[in-house]
């Protein structure tokens, strides 16, 4: 649904160049919720703005719903050039919501939702009907006549969502849409996005710096750092990938991996393995005492997933059989590196984090 190929964005100021995007290849499948996560400055914001060409990529291409948007943008000017009519039409089929909502304070809630319809040239009566339908969909049917200034943050974002859906888009871009909201409101807005994704088949590309957002709504995720996509894939596949940074950050397990006389093992549960009492089976089968150092369990996209850091007695060499037992049960097993040792695929610095 959304494909970026070798997307590069370089900002040139008088005396230096800043590379915000450095060859980003991203593929968002139709009907999925795709989360791009990264710290500020990682290039997420540039990425999402390049998808609907609010920022013109320096090189590379963006295809949304089979249409090459980069081909619609007049070449030559670095940015700020006037968008062509074709690009404006394409944009009207891509909804977008923002961190600070960006609602017009001079208009009522209904007026805000009608704005994209005015741009599309929808007649007044149809506009009003459609706006009220959309407000009903986001649960704000009774707020049509009030001004955004009188709404709470969560309500404002719901209006933003209703407005983004007015043009009947197939794709919704979410630019840190929940970052200005409290945790409770964040959950309800994410639930709404999830519902819209399911009911309308809406493809959602969201950027965020909160792991919780990825955990609660995303089917797929990408981790960005320094303008590059470091890791990407379906969330459950990532969790099954040994040494995945995203998996480690989604389910941070505590406990110091450097314990004397024991072997510390990170176990990732996913798929059918979650239903089995593996740890007690392991203890019984091999008559060993297992200490649980840390654990994180959660439901990701409707599936139980989790990680656990356990300690087995004896050195690593003594535990080859129990570890094999865990792998046999379909679990992903990782040996986190203690500082100074390098007995794993995970870079030391990341495992300690």
């Amino acid at each position: 649904m959304i494909t970026t190929t070798d997307l590069t964005k370089v900002y040139r100021t008088r005396d230096r160049e800043v590379t915000a995007l450095d060859g980003v290849n991203l593929h968002v499948a139709e009907g999925e919720v795709f989360g791009v996560i990264g710290q500020s400055g990682a290039g997420k914001s540039s990425l999402i703005r390049c998808v609907n060409l609010l920022e013109r990529p320096t090189s590379g291409s963006v295809t949304v719903a089979g249409q090459d948007l980069t081909a619609l943008a007049p070449a030559g000017r670095a940015d700020g050039g006037r968008p062509s009519a074709a690009l404006r039409r394409a944009r009207s089929r891509i909804g977008m919501i923002f961190q600070h909502f960006n609602l017009l304070s001079a208009r009522t809630v209904q007026g805000n939702v009608e704005l994209p319809l005015e741009i599309l040239g929808v007649p007044r009566r149809d506009r009003a009907r459609r706006a009220l339908e959309l407000l009903d969909l986001v649960g704000l049917a009774d707020k049509a006549r009030v001004h955004p200034g009188q709404l709470s943050g969560g309500q404002k974002q719901r209006v933003g969502i209703a407005r983004a859906l007015a043009g009947d888009p197939k794709v919704l871009l979410s630019d840190e849409a929940t970052s200005a909201l409290d945790p409770e409101t964040t959950r309800s807005v994410l639930r709404l996005l999830r519902d819209l994704n399911r009911e309308l088949g809406l493809t959602v590309l969201l950027i965020t710096h909160e792991m919780d957002v990825v955990k609660s709504v995303c089917d797929s995720a990408a981790l960005m750092r320094g303008g590059r996509v470091v890791e990407s894939g379906r969330v459950d596949d990532l969790l099954a990938t040994p040494g995945s940074e995203l998996a480690a950050e989604l389910f941070p397990v505590g406990g110091d991996p450097a314990t004397a006389g024991g072997t510390v093992v990170d176990v990732t549960f996913h798929g059918s393995a979650t239903a089995q009492p593996v740890i007690s089976q392991l203890a019984r089968t091999y008559h060993i005492d297992i200490s649980i150092l840390g654990a994180a369990m959660d439901t990701v996209a409707g599936r139980q997933i989790g990680r656990m850091r356990i300690e087995l007695p004896g050195r690593h060499e003594d535990n080859v059989v129990p570890i094999g037992f865990l792998r046999e049960r379909g679990l992903t097993v990782d040996i986190p590196a203690a500082a100074g040792t390098a007995r794993t695929t995970v870079p030391t610095e990341e495992a300690v984090k």
Binding site: R91, M96, N102, P116, E118, L120, L151, R163
Partner: protein
């Protein structure tokens, strides 16, 4: 001079001032609004970025702003004569008043439009809106309270300018204070004129403030 003698002079002065200020405000608004909006749009990062046009408009506005009004008044005499056939009287005074106020209001419009959150512009562009949509559905409606406040300031400045219009026989309250009060030592009339001017300016400011308050009431309620 008795009150009976002063009254018709004051009334006529008031009428002339309102006539001059009213028309020149209307012209200044019509001229300053597009200039101010263009100053923002053609600036770097604007939607119609065009450095040459921006520099030219900026220069014209700056020249207009830096000329003392009294000089402008005299310098424009040929232009005024061309436009209205005479350079004497209230109607002729409207020309230099408007020309003086256009760049003043244009800068206020520029400031007001610049204050509109760029996120709103981005949102409208993401919806597929073009420059026209952005200006008429976002920039101007969102800047309206500031624009009204700017217009209020412009009217008050024009009341002050109109006093100088007396130099070219423009009439009005300022002229009255000057010719009768100052030159003929009619202190009573001068004080009365000043009082009327104070009332006039206060009324304009009050009206403007009320309009701004009405326009922004829904933004402040509840937060």
């Amino acid at each position: 001079m008795t009150w009976d003698q002063m009254q018709p002079l004051l009334v006529q002065g008031c009428v002339d001032t309102l006539y001059m200020v009213g028309w020149s405000t209307a012209v200044a608004a019509l001229g300053g609004l597009p200039l101010g909006v263009l100053l923002v749009l053609t600036d770097r990062g604007g939607m119609l970025r065009n450095t040459a046009v921006n520099k030219v408009i900026g220069a014209v506005v700056n020249v207009g702003r830096s000329l003392p009004f009294i000089i402008l008044l005299v310098a424009l005499i040929p232009f005024t004569r061309l436009l209205v056939g005479t350079f004497i009287g209230p109607t002729a005074a409207i020309v230099p008043l408007a020309v003086g106020a256009i760049p003043f209001f244009a800068r206020l419009v520029e400031t007001a439009v610049r204050e509109v959150d760029h996120g709103l512009v981005e949102a409208v562009q993401a919806m597929g809106g073009g420059t026209g949509t952005t200006v008429f559905k976002v920039l101007l409606p969102q800047a309206l309270p500031s624009l009204v406040a700017g217009l209020t300031t412009t009217v008050i400045v024009l009341v002050g300018y109109s006093a100088m219009a007396g130099v070219v026989g423009g009439g009005g309250l300022g002229n009255l204070a000057l010719t009768y009060g100052y030159q003929r030592f009619e202190t009573g009339l001068m004080l009365a004129t000043v009082a009327v001017l104070i009332v006039l300016v206060t009324l304009v400011q009050l009206l403007g403030d009320t309009a701004v308050r009405l326009l922004t009431r829904h933004e402040r309620k509840g937060g």
